[in-house]
Structures are given as C-alpha cells and as structure tokens.
C-alpha cells in the first residue's frame, strides 16, 4: 500500500467515524463537530487525489468546500442558538418533532 492508498483509507476511516458520531451522539454541537469531521475526510481525499494526479482542480475544490463549510457553520450555529432558546436543551431527543 503506497501513501496515496493509505491516505484514501484514512479519509474513508475518518468519514465512517464522523458518520458514527452523528448517529450516536445526543448533543447538537457535537453532532455538528462530527459533520465537520466528515467534511474534512472528503477534503483529505480531494487533496490526496489532487497531489496524486498533480492537478490543481482538487485543491481548488477544497477552497470551495471551505467556503461552503463556513456558510454551513454560520447558519448551523444560528439554528442551534434558536433551538436552544425555544427548547432550552441541546439534546437531540428534545427536538424530535422537527423530523419530517
């Protein structure tokens, strides 16, 4: 296994662990952090393939992922503050009625 395969496996591992964190944790903020882990795993795979293929397209894509992540976190934190204000809880179980 060369280093590019190793990093691809690492990104897959980080993505899986982030997904598991989204499922198992109850705290809204920690769920957001696990989503960030998943996003970073995707960025890692983009960079790995960009370096592997010696092209700048993957690196440019990471720039746009960072922009999207910044927007996402700004909106998500606003929603978290609103949810906390309405329900006084960060527990996902307190927001069950949001589904569907």
């Amino acid at each position: 296994m060369d280093k590019y395969q190793f990093l691809t496996v690492l990104s897959a591992l980080l993505f899986t662990m982030g997904l598991a964190g989204v499922v198992v944790r109850r705290n809204l903020l920690v769920v957001m952090m696990c989503l960030e882990i998943m996003l970073n795993a995707v960025v890692l795979s983009f960079v790995t393939f960009a370096v592997r293929s010696q092209t700048l397209a993957g690196v440019a894509m990471t720039f746009f992922i960072y922009v999207a992540a910044s927007c996402e976190i700004a909106l998500a934190m606003a929603i978290v503050v609103l949810l906390l204000r309405h329900r006084c809880s960060l527990d996902l179980a307190a927001h069950q009625d949001l589904k569907g």
């Binding site: 997904l19 499922v23 198992v24 903020l29 960030e36 010696q54 910044s70 700004a74 503050v81 527990d91």
Partner: protein, 166 residues
C-alpha cells in the same frame, strides 16, 4: 522521514477523532476537533500541498472552530445530553461503522498501485502557483463563492431575527 511523519499525524488524526466522538463535554470535543484540523494540516504539508495546509489552519482552525468555541461558551450545555452522552443507537451504529470501515479497508487496500507521474511534469502546490491558476481558471467560481458567503450571512441574520420576533 516524510512517511514516518505522515503515519504519526494520521494516528494523531484518528486519536483526536475518537476523542471528539467520546468526550462528554462539548468544549473538550471542540478542542479535540482543533487538534484533528491541525493534524490534517500537517498531513497536507507532508504531501507538499502547502496552500491547503494554510487554508486549513486559517479558515478551519482560525475561523470556523473559534466561532464554534464562542458558541459553546455562550450556551449552557449541562442538559440531558450532558448526562447521557450516547443515544440508544450507539451499539448498532458502532457495529455498522466497524463493518463499513473494514469493508473500505479491504476494498481500498486491494486497489492496484498506480505509477507516480514523472518528476517535473506536474504542477506546484505553492501559494503563488495556486493563486495564478485559480484566478485564471476559477475566477467565475470565486465570484459565485462570494455571493454564497453573502447569502449565508444574510440567512444567518434572518434566522436570528426571525427567532427574536418569536
């Protein structure tokens, strides 16, 4: 030496990821996430993608995570999610995650090794080379990204204002 550093920071990244998922207090989880971001930046630097390493530290650690830490400090997080960390789906999720990780390991580990391109034939991942190529090929996407940022700011402001009005 580069391979050893890559392995070291990869292990560090996995360790910090485990800490984010398992730690009880959100602030400690956030600090572990900062450690993960820095480890990934070090991996990018080891790969020679210095521009992404700089982005990772400046944007993620310097902006996104600081924003998240501020939010955690503003909120009182000692509710039921503080006492009971994991949901009822913890065991099934851990089992499925283990299976998915094992499947990915087997799948990706069995892929054939592709020959590396010849030296000097590729592009440089320095900041200046990236800036020139970015503004030459992706200037329109960059403008769209600025619009997206503006829309994000307006949306966050509108959400907070709507919540304040009831």
């Amino acid at each position: 030496m580069g391979g050893v550093m890559l392995l070291f920071f990869s292990l560090l990244a996995v360790l910090f990821t485990v800490l984010v998922i398992t730690l009880r207090q959100p602030m400690r989880a956030a600090l572990s996430l900062v450690g993960l971001m820095v480890s990934l930046a070090a991996i990018y630097a080891c790969l020679g993608a210095h521009v992404v390493a700089i982005f990772q530290v400046l944007i993620y650690v310097g902006a996104v995570m600081v924003f998240m830490v501020y939010t955690i400090m503003l909120l009182d997080d000692r509710d039921t999610s503080y006492r009971q960390v994991f949901s009822r789906l913890a065991l099934p999720a851990a089992a499925v995650a283990s299976l998915v990780a094992a499947a990915l390991w087997l799948l990706l580990g069995s892929l054939p090794s592709v020959p590396v391109p010849a030296e000097g034939g590729g592009v440089s991942f320095t900041f200046s080379a990236f800036s020139v190529a970015f503004m030459r090929h992706y200037w329109f996407h960059f403008e769209l990204a600025t619009v997206l940022l503006l829309v994000g700011i307006i949306a966050a402001w509108a959400a907070i204002k709507e919540g304040s009005n009831g």
